[in-house]
Every structure is written in C-alpha cells, then in structure tokens.
C-alpha cells in the first residue's frame, strides 16, 4: 500500500488518475451538497444518462473526439433533459420521480440507438467513444486533469460568488423570492453547474456511477454538521478522499476498475458517517434509545414495588404476581432495585428505602400531570 502511495508522486498515469478523481470528488461533493439539500439528488443520475445522445451527436456532427467538444454536446443534452423535467412538472400532474425517469430513459435510449448507429457505420474514429461514456479513469491524461481543473474551478468559483444566494435558495426559496432574488434564474444556474460537474465526472466514473458521487459525499457530510459551510467543506473532503483512495486501490492490483472503487470507498465513508457521526450517528441513537428504555423500565418497576409496599407486602412472590412474571425474575428485579439503593430487605421481604420513597413520590407526581393533559386535549 505504501508503495502505491509513493507511486502517486512518481507514476505519471497514477498521478493523473488520482488527481482527476480527487478533483471530481471535490466538485461533485460541493454541488451535490446543494442538490441533496434541494431534494434534487437524482438529477445527477438523470443528467449523466441524458448526456449520452449529446455526446454521440457531437461526435456525429464534428467527427472529432476532442473531450471538450463531446462534453459540450453532453452538457447540452443533459441541460435539455433537465428543462424537460421542469416542463413536465410545471404542466402535468405527473409525480417528480416519474418525470425524472421518463427523461432519463428516453434520452438514454436515444443515446444507445445513436451509439450503435455510429458503431455500425464503420467509422474508424469512433473507437473509444463508449469508453468515454462509460468511464475509463485509467486513461486520464494530464490534459484531462487540466480540463477538470478549469471546469471544476469555474464551477467552484461561481458557487463561491453566489454562496449567500444559493444558501437561501436551498433552505427557504419562498423567503428568497420575497427578498426579490431571481429564484428561478438562480435555480437554473445551480442546475447548470451540476450539469458541468456531471460532465466532468462522466469520463472518470461513467454514466451509472456519477449519481453516487453527487449524493453520497453530501449525505455523509450531513451527518457530521448542521452548518452549510462545514457541510460543503466536508463533502468536498470526503469526495476527494474517495477519489484518491479509489484510484490508489485500483492501481494496487490488476483488473480493478477505478470508478466502482471510488463509489465503494465513498459508500464506506458514508456508512461510517451514518453509524458513528457524533450526535446524529445511528449507534448513538441506539444507545440513547436503550438508555431511555432502561430508565422507563426501572421506573415502572419501582412504582410496582411502591404500590405493593404501601398496600400489601413487597416480596418476590407478590411482585411476581403483580407483574405477571416468574418468582425468579421478580427476585432478580428486587436485587436490581436494591443495587440502586431504592429497596432493602426486611423481615417480611423488602421495604422501600427513603431514597426509594422519594423517587417513587416524584414519579407519581410527574405521572399525575399526565391524565390531566390527556383529558384537557
């Protein structure tokens, strides 16, 4: 592994691949943060698929495989598809996911048809066109990295320029509108930037996996913070991390494609975030829920003991009868209460300690409020 890391600085190909993937992770993470917040997570998926006919048409019209030209074609097609989604949503009752699905699959179907049309036309220059579309990170060269830098840098620069506006747009579009901001224009700008990010990513991870690189970094970052600026920073960091480690992993053995590895690394980061992020992590949720359940359980146990002590006698037998459990379990329960210092053994069985009384009293006071609020409703 260390050897692989060392390779990044010496190996020309690996350096380009790692750098390209990292750049993609950063740009995807930042723009994905906004997409996820605006509940447009799957737009990236749609755009990535919809780019296909654009790329093919660009090739058919110009006959060249210059990446920038193909990206331009793909971008235009993706942009058209997103306009299509908006138009369908504005003018029909069709739900959002169906609108996205229709545009995704019809554009992609058309793209597949065009691609095969090109392949069957025996155009010698078409070779490698499908690699471009389905991602071949291993073929990233220095000029590609330069393209990524320029395009990604442009996207990030614009995000920085309109940061305040985009923030407002993502959290409270109605308020943004009332402030007189051009909400629709800003939304289109943000979507267009996402198109740009997707186009940059196409070449590296391919059509299908691009969606993950927009969504997962933002979703992971969301678990760690409530602040947008931190979220964006973390998303960029996670994206870059996944990009670099995916590239390194794929270089460590043969036959390991980079794109899927980047996505899998990203999914691992996401899983860790989901489970272990402080405050929001699932593990802490479970711990809290468990603690809560245990408290409620002990309180009910004490109340039962309290009732028994006041009215008859508190012993494993009576407790077992009241709680419909076996005497052995009841005996264990009494031991638990005793360990808490709430009951102590006496000649009849058990008695509540002063602390136990105090606690039971408090609980009863608290519970007395309950019926009233329920009735008052």
């Amino acid at each position: 592994m260390l050897e692989t890391v060392a390779h990044v600085f010496t190996d020309y190909t690996l350096r380009n691949v790692a750098l390209g993937s990292a750049l993609l992770g950063v740009v995807g993470g930042v723009l994905g943060a906004f997409a996820v917040l605006r509940r447009q997570s799957l737009l990236g998926d749609v755009l990535a698929h919809a780019a296909l006919p654009g790329i093919c048409l660009a090739f058919l019209l110009t006959g060249s495989k210059v990446p920038l030209l193909l990206l331009l074609g793909g971008g235009l097609a993706g942009w058209l598809a997103s306009l299509g989604v908006l138009a369908v949503l504005r003018h029909t009752r069709l739900p959002e996911d169906s609108a996205l699905g229709v545009m995704l699959s019809s554009f992609f179907g058309f793209g597949v048809a065009l691609l095969t049309f090109i392949q069957h036309s025996n155009n010698a220059r078409q070779a490698g066109l499908d690699q471009f579309i389905f991602g071949q990170a291993a073929t990233i060269v220095a000029s590609d990295v330069l393209n990524f830098m320029v395009l990604g840098g442009l996207a990030l620069f614009i995000v920085g320029l309109f940061y305040k506006e985009f923030k407002l747009l993502s959290f409270d579009p109605a308020y943004a509108h009332s402030l007189g901001l051009p909400v629709r224009g800003l939304g289109t700008l943000l979507t267009s930037l996402t198109v740009l990010a997707v186009m940059v990513g196409l070449q590296t991870v391919g059509v299908v996996l691009m969606a993950a690189l927009l969504i997962a970094p933002a979703a992971a970052a969301r678990q760690w913070t409530d602040r947008l600026s931190t979220l964006i920073g973390l998303a960029a960091l996670f994206g870059a991390l996944a990009g670099v480690s995916g590239a390194l992993l794929s270089a460590s053995r043969e036959n390991l494609p980079t794109g899927p590895l980047v996505v899998i690394t990203m999914s691992a980061i996401l899983l860790v975030s989901l489970f272990f992020a402080p405050l929001r992590g699932l593990v802490w949720d479970w711990a809290r829920a468990r603690q809560h359940r245990r408290r409620v359980y002990l309180e009910r146990l004490l109340l039962d003991a309290h009732v028994l002590y006041n009215h008859e006698q508190l012993s494993p037998q009576t407790l077992a009868l009241r709680r419909r459990e076996s005497a052995a379990v009841a005996r264990r329960h009494l031991e638990v209460l005793r360990a808490l210092g709430w009951v102590e053994p006496n000649q009849n069985g058990y008695a509540l300690t002063p602390t136990g009384h105090q606690k039971a009293h408090e609980l009863e006071q608290a519970m007395r409020v309950l019926p009233k609020t329920v009735e008052g409703k």
Binding site: T92, D97, S98, L100, G101, F108, F110, V112, P260, R280
Partner: protein
Amino acid sequence: MNADLVITLTAILVSVASALLGTFLVLRRMALMSDAISHAALPGIVLAYWLSGGERATPVALAGAAAAGLVTVTLVEWLTRSGKVKNDAAIGIVFPALFSLGVLAVSLYFRQVHLDLDAVLYGEIAYAPFNTLTLGGREIPESWLIMGSLALLNLLFVLLFYKELKLATFDAGLAAALGFAPGVLHYALMTLVSFTAVGAFQSVGAILIVAFLIIPPATAYLLTERLPVMIGLAVGVGVVSSLAGYALAIWLDASIAGMMATVAGICFALAFFFSPLEGLLTTRIRRERDRLLVAARLLVAHLAHHDRPVSEQEVIEEFAWNPRFLKRVRHKALQMGWLEVTQGGLRPRHPPQ
C-alpha cells in the same frame, strides 16, 4: 423461425410485462425504484452465477436478481426510515454502491466468462432468435418462454390483487387500517419488478428496462384518470413502441431496444403536448377558445345595449382590443350565431323564434 417475429414478440412481451407493473410504480411514486432495482440486480446475477458454479441458467439468475432487488428495496426503506437521508438520496446511494460491487465482481472474477458488461447494460434483443429450446418436440425461442411467463405472472398478480393494489396505491393508510398489509404488497410488487428486470436483461438491458417500466405508464397517466384505462393505454403504448421501434432500428441499423425507448419517449412527448386531458397545446387551445368565447359574450352584451348597429371602430375603442383580436372574436361570435354583420356595423342576432 422468422427472426422478425421472434424479436417483435419478445419486445411486446417485455413491454406488456413492464407496463402492468410500471403503472403501479408510477402511481405509487416509486418509478425510480425500477432504475435502482435494475442496476442492483447485477451483483445478484453475479452472485447467483458464482453460487451455481458458472451455470448461466435463467432460474438461478432470476432468484439472485430478485434477492438483490429485495436487498435494494429493504436498504432504501431502512435508510429512509432512519431519517438520516431523504428517500431520493437513499435511492441514489444504494444502487450505485450495489452496482459498483457487481461491476467489480465481474471485472475481478468473470472477465473471461461471457458475462459481458455491455450485454448486461444494453442487452441485445437481436440475439433472441438464436437462443431456442425444445419444448414438447417444438423449438421455441427462450425469450418467448421467459418473457411470456413473466408477462403472465404479472398479469395474474395484477388481476388477483387488483383491489388491494388499487387501495394500497391510492390510500395506503386505509389499506393498512383494513388489514391489507401494504408492506407485503409493496415487497411482492418489487419482487416482480426484479424478476421482470432480470428476465428482460438479455433482451433490452439493465438501463433500458427502466424505459419500458416508466415511459408507457407515464404516457398513459397523461391521457386518463381511470386506472383500468391507464393500464390498457400503458400496454398499448408499450406495444406500439416495440413495433415502431423495431422498424426504425432496422431502417437505421441502430440498437433495437434503444430505438424502442426512443419511440416510447416520442409517444410521451406527443401525450405531453396533445393529451385531451392536460396536454400543453390542448390546454392552450382550450384556454384560447374560452378566452374568445368570453370576449364574444362580452361583445354581444355590449352590442345589446345599443339600439343601432355599432361600428367595429367603436368596439375597438370601447374595449381597447386590437383589430386582429376583434376579428377573431367576431368570427367566434358569428360561428356561435350570436352576431349579425350589417351595413352600419355589428349587431346582436335575435334568435329566430
């Protein structure tokens, strides 16, 4: 057997099987789950392939893909319920991860085997005539058997559980309260979607199956508000796309499934613009007609206040209409029989009583 016949009938069976389920996916706002399932089926197929020791038997692949489909659905549900991510993000997280695992497994272990990624992603329906098996002494295409059974299975499912599906789709709360177990229905539907996706893999491919599941039902959705009609229309659009797509693909020498999806997309665009229900142009034309009708009524009411014919110039000044609009309003009013054009100008026409 005639290759055209094999291919078109396979495509029709795929589109029928898909339209039946897709209708409910679209109505239940789960259209993109089909995208997720069709991608996530890949690791399931690879796993089944590996477990069965390199057999490429369809039943095993179906089982593997169905398992993968259920894993996808469960994971998405779990992620959504945990409240950590929204539903759309959950879909977008789960399927690329599973798909990546599948791609990785293929490139690591099955590189040399005929589990061609391109074939899985695109599918190639043109090969359908070559895969045949003998059944009762007659040779029939494998794809007919697979897709035919799936279409039949889906049809049975929809027929048997029509009432439950309808209720769970339009009022999940009531369905649950009546004890219809919408959860079970949900998973049953998703299992069938996984089956259908895998069954159609060889013919239309992982990604294009989404087109067959979503576009025809979405098109039908724009054309009707009645569920049985929607199912029928969805099947119809699917069949038309299959036939026309095939013809176009042959003509242009392009991917058959891709062309079918393209035609389905065109059907959707036509419905979007021209649906009598809420088509963009239809609505516009209707709105324009209503506007003219209102204006014509206004004009006639205005004319009725005068004892004399009113010149068009006066009307234009009165209502601040431009002359071209007046001409159209006049035409409409004449058409409706509300107006007379006399020497001195316009005048309301009294009904001949």
